[in-house]
């Protein structure tokens, strides 16, 4: 007890001493935005959080901040494996239908109340409550019964085995004692959250910044960096200048910034650059309702004709890797070698198209039954990388005799007037790759309706079966078999031409120590980061 109470004091003393020594320099730097700030940590965000009750918001800024203030029952560790967070341990029943969570004892909410199973039960109940306007009810709706067995035991039962279930309990747990019986949409917690996490919410200056402070009673130990300042800087160029002037400590770089603008010795002495695959991929999707794309030979020919490596060099300056399927390289569901992948081979593309019945017309465009092989690639406005990608593809396809037009649309009309109505030929878009490899929402044939995510209309009974099998299996090795097979089928069918997985390119000031890059990126151990005094 004495140690835990003394420690922050000690830390404060050290920080204070550090500040006092660096005072004159502080002053000089502070004028340019302030660089040497003791152990404070400032990061920039393009967007402002919308709502800090996590089930009510869907934007990344909100989840960034909520991730520091709240905990879930489980979380992904640095190797992207599930580990206990507020749950010390859990058991899956032999039939795969029930999960029993044993909650961590002695965890306190930031206002001093004890964290118990009542909070977990409340979080579950409010999420599935029809009156709660949340986008996250779906996973919890699979739950048949949920009960708080005792203060530190929480039990759920599912109607059918559901592997993504476990990960869904990574949802931040909300404080029942502050919310129960109240209208969650009008709760002050949305602007002033109370959680169990490593940081305590302190202040929100609208449109400018959020300030969090280290939680001295955090169950894993208090974070060393405090205060944590989340600055809202809506423009990327401004953010980059703030970084260089010492106004922020960390940001994500663009490939151009990483490759061309941050190589000087001066920059490298002040900052550390990191690089690892991001959880996202970019693809060219074909509308499979159109006769032109129903022939698998045409789709395989398109993939053969596209040089993915060239796209990565041209668009990402090499900061990415080729995608062959919907998973992130290096994760457990990802298949390192996919046999059915066509690869880049223009000669084979020409042969496949000939086999499909296309003959070269006089104008250099392939023709079948009097109709030229021509389509439009649509993409959304404001994403320069996608546009460049489309242009490179256009040139490559022209060489094998395919005429491609490019159309860039504003996001809202792109979605409502074209995607939702199926009025498109090919689209160039991207998906984020979720930690759990379940593909139901994007690839199952039941998800081809309007506003659903299998908007290209891909239907393959074998794939459907494998997806259902995969989400119904808890054993990772067995699950992996399903996903390996799925990747082979997708590579064979090429409903998308999977293009690339870009790299995440964060940069952090070199005064911050303790950063250990891992498959999960760098921020997983933020609470262990420190400043050398």
């Amino acid at each position: 007890m004495t140690f835990s109470r003394c420690f922050p004091l000690l830390l404060a003393l050290i920080v204070f001493a550090g500040c006092a020594k660096g005072a004159p320099e502080d002053k000089a730097r502070a004028q340019g935005g302030g660089a040497s700030r003791g152990s404070s940590f400032v990061t920039g965000s393009i967007g402002e959080p919308s709502n800090l009750i996590p089930i009510l918001s869907a934007d990344s800024a909100s989840s960034d901040v909520a991730g520091l203030v709240y905990n879930g029952l489980v979380r992904y560790d640095k190797n992207l494996k599930l580990e206990g967070d507020l749950a010390q341990s859990w058991e899956v029943s032999p039939d795969g239908l029930g999960i029993t969570f044993h909650l961590r004892r002695g965890v306190k909410w930031h206002d001093g109340h004890d964290f118990t199973s009542r909070d977990v039960l409340y979080t579950y109940k409010v999420t599935i409550d029809p009156k709660t306007p949340t986008a996250y009810a779906e996973d919890f709706k699979q739950v048949q019964t949920a009960e708080a067995v005792d203060t530190y035991t929480f039990k759920v039962r599912y109607a059918k085995p559901f592997a993504p279930a476990l990960a869904s309990w990574g949802m931040p747990v909300l404080p029942a004692h502050l919310l129960e019986g109240k209208d969650i949409t009008k709760s002050p917690l949305s602007r002033k959250p109370v959680g169990t996490g490593p940081y305590i919410f302190k202040e929100w200056v609208p449109g400018q910044r959020l300030i969090l402070e280290a939680n001295p009673h955090y169950y894993e130990g208090a974070p060393h960096l405090s205060p944590y300042v989340y600055r809202i800087i809506p423009d990327n160029s401004t953010m980059y200048m703030e970084l260089k002037a010492g106004g922020i400590d960390m940001m994500g770089l663009s490939p151009v910034q990483y490759q061309r603008q941050t190589g000087s010795r001066e920059f490298l002495s002040r900052f550390n650059k990191y690089r690892y695959p991001a959880s996202a991929y970019t693809y060219l999707g074909y509308n499979l309702r159109l006769p032109m794309f129903q022939d698998v030979r045409v789709r395989r020919a398109l993939t053969c004709a596209i040089n993915k490596e060239e796209i990565i060099q041209g668009v990402l300056l090499g900061m990415g890797q080729i995608a062959h399927g919907p998973y992130k390289p290096g994760t457990w569901a990802w298949k390192p070698r996919i046999e059915a992948d066509p690869g880049y081979d223009p000669a084979r593309a020409a042969a496949l198209l000939k086999e499909a019945g296309y003959v070269m017309g006089s104008d250099g465009i392939l023709v079948k039954d009097g109709k030229p092989l021509s389509f439009t690639i649509m993409t959304n406005q404001g994403n320069d990388q996608r546009l460049k990608c489309a242009q490179i593809i256009q040139r490559r396809l022209k060489r094998v005799g395919i005429d491609v037009k490019i159309r860039v649309m504003e996001w809202a009309s792109f979605l409502t007037n074209f995607i939702d109505k199926g009025r498109f030929e090919a689209v160039l878009l991207g998906w984020t790759i979720s930690q759990d490899p379940d593909l139901y929402d994007v690839w199952h044939s039941s998800k081809t309706g309007p506003k659903e995510l299998n908007f290209i209309g891909y239907k393959n009974p074998e794939l459907d079966r494998l997806i259902v099998e995969g989400r119904g299996t808890f054993d990772m090795a067995k699950r992996r078999e399903s996903y390996y097979r799925i990747q082979e089928i997708l590579a064979q069918d090429q409903p998308y031409t999977f293009l690339y997985v870009p790299d995440a390119l964060p940069v952090v000031t070199s005064r911050i120590k303790g950063i250990e890059p891992a498959p999960a990126g760098i921020s997983y151990n933020l609470i262990k980061w420190y400043v050398e005094q």
Binding site: A135, A137, S190, Q208, I233, D235, T238, A412, T416
Partner: protein, 326 residues
């Protein structure tokens, strides 16, 4: 005069109603809905969740019902709650952004008028001289340079290279702890770049306008008469000519009133200033109907009041209008 005023005031209401009806229609004609903008392409959102959100925002009701509800709330001065996930009252969101926007705009407006008018007069008095041409080049340079580009250059030079001025935002971290004077100095340093660049960009219009009205007045017979009488040139220009040349400027000032609560999106984005421009832009992008309508109604109201005030000031300033009808 009183009759005229009452008539004008009564006219404001149907005008405002018409404006709200048109804007309501236009914003609903834009493709996409708030729910869609929040949930599109998100794998975790089911059709039920979407329906639930639509119901929560009242988007499942027919359009005329939605308009009616919005209008009756407005009659009680209730602008409704934002359709963003925070679901906060629209008025709160506007209130927290209005002070910085108005202060910035007022300062910029004072600087703009304070600089553009003398520049215009100077150019007119020294018509076709080197000075006149130099002024033209200067103000048109400000007009032609893309402000975001100039802003970035200045930020790089003064912020990164020289480290004299802060780059973005309106306060330094920890400025709350400073004494009042130091806090004011901190704020002033943050606002120096945005205000000077905004002013530089807006000089052209007003100064050219001032120059041409001044030239027009200077060619009038009564100026010639005054000169012929032997009145000193200073008096001719500043007492006789300037007074008359300033009349149209009143109208311009009236038009500037609604601009006081508007902000430039690009500017606010580059300098990370949490102003009305950004709020409105985000509102439109997210199809946050109540927020967009709220800002537009306030803007429209101010425009109408501004026009009315301009007309009234005109009547006060110009005896021809005041006594014209009598």
């Amino acid at each position: 005069m009183a009759n005229y005023l009452i008539k004008r005031l009564l006219m404001l209401f149907p005008l405002l109603l018409g404006i709200t009806l048109i804007t309501f229609t236009v914003i609903h004609l834009a493709p996409g809905e708030p729910v869609e903008m929040q949930t599109a392409m998100s794998p975790k959102v089911s059709a039920q969740a979407r329906a639930r959100l639509r119901e929560f925002y009242g988007l499942d009701k027919p359009l005329h019902v939605q308009y009616g509800m919005w209008l009756s709330n407005l009659a009680h001065l209730d602008f409704g709650r934002s359709f963003a996930p925070d679901n906060r009252p629209v008025l709160d969101k506007i209130k927290e952004r209005i002070p910085i926007t108005i202060s910035l705009n007022v300062i910029a407006l004072i600087l703009e008028f304070g600089l553009a008018l003398p520049i215009g007069i100077l150019a007119a008095v020294h018509r076709d001289t080197l000075l006149d041409r130099a002024i033209s080049v200067f103000v048109f340079a400000g007009f032609a340079v893309p402000t975001f580009w100039l802003a970035l250059l200045c930020m790089y030079f003064f912020g990164v290279k020289l480290n004299w001025l802060p780059i973005s935002g309106i306060h330094s971290l920890g400025s709350d702890a400073l004494p009042t004077l130091a806090r004011f100095w901190d704020l002033a340093k943050h606002l120096l770049l945005p205000i000077s660049i905004a002013t530089f960009g807006s000089l052209a219009g007003l100064s050219r306008y001032m120059r041409s009205t001044m030239l027009e007045v200077l060619s009038q017979d009564y100026i010639t008469t005054a000169r012929a009488k032997g009145v000193r040139e200073r008096v001719v220009i500043y007492r006789h000519a300037l007074k008359n040349a300033l009349l149209p400027v009143i109208t311009l000032l009236g038009f500037s009133l609604p601009a006081l609560i508007g902000g430039s999106v690009i500017f606010e984005t580059i300098f990370s200033i949490p102003g009305m421009g950004q709020l409105f832009y985000q509102g439109v992008m997210a199809r946050d109907y109540p927020l967009v309508m709220g800002i537009l109604v306030i803007g429209a109201g101010l425009t109408l009041v501004g026009n009315l005030l301009a007309d009234l000031c005109y009547a006060v300033a110009d005896p021809r209008i005041r006594h014209g009808r009598g």
